[in-house]
Symmetry: C2
Subunit: 367 residues, 2 copies
Amino acid sequence: MKMDVEKIFRMKGGVGKTSYSKNSSLQKKASDKVKYITLETIEQVYLTAKPKSLGIADLGCSSGPNTLSNIREIVDAIEEISRRTLQPAPEFRVYLNDLPTNDFNAIFQALPDFYGGLKNGRSNQGAPPSIYIAGYPGSFYGRLFPDNCLHFIYSSYSLHWLSRVPQGLYDETCRPINKGSIYISDNSPPEVPKAYSKQFQEDFSLFLHSRSKELVSGGGMVLILLARKGPSHIDRGNSFFWEILYRSLASLVRKGDVEEEKLDSYDVHFYAPSKEELEDLIKKEGSLKLEGVEMFEIEKDVCDGSATSYGTRVAMTVRAIQESMIAHHFGDAIVDDLFDIYGRMVDEEMAKEDIRPMTSVVVLRKL
Amino acid sequence: MKMDVEKIFRMKGGVGKTSYSKNSSLQKKASDKVKYITLETIEQVYLTAKPKSLGIADLGCSSGPNTLSNIREIVDAIEEISRRTLQPAPEFRVYLNDLPTNDFNAIFQALPDFYGGLKNGRSNQGAPPSIYIAGYPGSFYGRLFPDNCLHFIYSSYSLHWLSRVPQGLYDETCRPINKGSIYISDNSPPEVPKAYSKQFQEDFSLFLHSRSKELVSGGGMVLILLARKGPSHIDRGNSFFWEILYRSLASLVRKGDVEEEKLDSYDVHFYAPSKEELEDLIKKEGSLKLEGVEMFEIEKDVCDGSATSYGTRVAMTVRAIQESMIAHHFGDAIVDDLFDIYGRMVDEEMAKEDIRPMTSVVVLRKL
C-alpha cells in the first residue's frame, strides 16, 4: 500500500499538549550537543567567503520553538564574528523549508516578536542586521532553491525520514513480507533491510545532488540525523523504538481495536544509516567534501524538572512525529491509547536496560 | 484607540463560505481588466534584461485562488515569449508576500497541485521551467526582500490599505473628531481627510522607497489599487461603501447591539488616493519612472450565473476583508447581522443609482 508521505506526513502543528512545538525537548537537547559544530562550520564558511549577503537554509525546520531559536543563534554568532573582525554584518537571507503540510503559519506569526527581540537591547551594537526570512515549502528530496544561493545548509533530525515507505515490502502476490514488524527487525526477511537501504540510497543521493547545486562553492552543510552504530540493523538505539511501537500496536490487535491485516501492511518511512553508508554515498556523489562524521549517543535526560516519566516523554516525541501517518493508516481513534501503551512499554524497557539512540553529525563542504 | 493592524488585519483564511478564497470574484474580475497591462509590463522587463533567473513578487498575495493563478499566467507568458524568441526559459523565483497573519499554509498546501499542473500536457514544450515559490511574511510598508533581487513587482488591491488607522482623529481631550463616520464623509471635519491623506503619503512613500531598493535597475512594477476620480474625497465609488457600512453599524446601535461610543471610535485603515496624489508621491520619491496611471471603473457583474444578489456579493467581499478588524473592535457576535444589513443596503442603493468603484493601475520602472 502506497502512502503519499509528502501529503500526509507532518509534525503536529499548533501549541497544544500533543503538538511538536511542545514535545521537541529531545531534539533540542541533542541539537545543543552539536551546536558548536554547527556554529563552527558556518563561521568558517563566513570567514572564508565574507559575503555581503549570507544565504542560510534550515531543511525540515518544523514549527516549534527550535525553528527561530536556531536562526537567532546563527545570526548572533555571525554578528559577533563580524564585530571581532571589524566588518559590517552581512545581510541574512534565511530559507525555512519543510513539507507543504508543515505549520508555516505558526512560524510566520512568531516573526514580529522575533524581529522585535533582535532590535531590543542593542544600544552598543547599532542597528539590527537586515534579515529576510522566507518559507520554502517542498520535499528536500529534490530541488528547493535557485542555483548557487546558499552559503550554509542545516538539517536537524529530518534526513532519517525517507521520501516514502520503501517499495519491495510485498511479495509477487501482493502480500506483505514484513509481517511481525513495522521496520527492520529480527523477524524481517533479508529483502526488508535491502529495500530500506535502497530507498535511503536513492533519497540521500538525490538530497546531496540537489543541495550541491544550491550551495555556492565553499558553502557548508551540517546534517544531523539518527544513525546506527555498525552494520547490523538491529540495535537497542533506533530500531528498538519501532519494535516497541510494533508491540504497542500488536497489543491493540489483541484487544480487537486494530485489524491484524492493517498492522501487517504498516511500515514506517524511516531509516538509520551507518557511518559507512553515509561516507559511501557522499563519496559517490562527488561534489561535496566530507569534513567529518561524528556519532554520539543522546544522553537520557533523567531529570528535566518535570514529573513526566521518560517513557511518556519519548511517547510524546514519537507521537508528534508519527501521529499523522498512524492516524491515516489506523484511524484517529486508537492514537491516545496507542501512545499510552507505548510510553509505559518504554519505561518498562528502560527499567531493564538503557536505550540510547545514536545520532550522526555530518559536516560537508561544497568543492 | 490604536489598533495593531499588522497583528489583527487579515483576509479570512480557509475555504469556508465566508472566506476570502470564496469571495474574491470582484477582485478577479478587476484584475482581468488589468491583466494585459501586467503581462505587457513583465514581458518588456524580461525582453530588455533577459535574465537567466527572473525574480517576481506578489505583494498582498492573500490566500485565494487568484494567488497561484496570477503566478501561472506570468510563467506561461514568459515561457511563451522565450519560445518565440528562441531562448531558454528563465528560472523563476517567486516571492509571495502578505502580513504574517495571512493563511500561507493554504497557499503552500496547493503547491503540489500547482507544480503538477505545470508538468501536465507539456509534450511539445519539454521539461517544465524551474520555479521556486516562497512565502515572505511581513508588512510591505518597509523592506521585505534583499537588495536588487526582483525584476517585477505586482500588487493587486492591497495598497489602499493603510499601515494603521491615521493618527489625528481625536481632539486634545481624546474625543473622536470623526463621529458619524468611519471614513472620510460629508460629516467629517477637514482634519479627517488631512489625517488620512498624510498617513497615505507616509505609507506609499515608504512603500516606493523600499521597493526601489529591491528592484534591479530596469525592473518593473504594476500597482492596482482603489482610487478616487478627482480631488473630492466623497464619491459614490469608494467612500460610499464605507458610508453604507457606517449606516449598517448605526442601525445596530439603534437596536442596542453596538454601543454608540464603540462606533464613534471606529475608523477604517483605508484611503483612496487621486491620480494626482499618486503622481506627486512617485515624483517625490525620485528613483522610479512613472510609465502610466490608468483609472477605470469596475463594471458591475450583473449576471455571474449565481442567484446571489450584487449587494450580498459586495457584502461578502467587504466581510472577507474587514471581518478581522470589525470582530476585534465590536466583537464576533455582530458580524453575521452586520453584513446581512450591509448587503441589503447595498442592493437598495444600487436600485436607486449605480455605484462604480474606481481602480487605478500604476506602471513604474526602476531607473
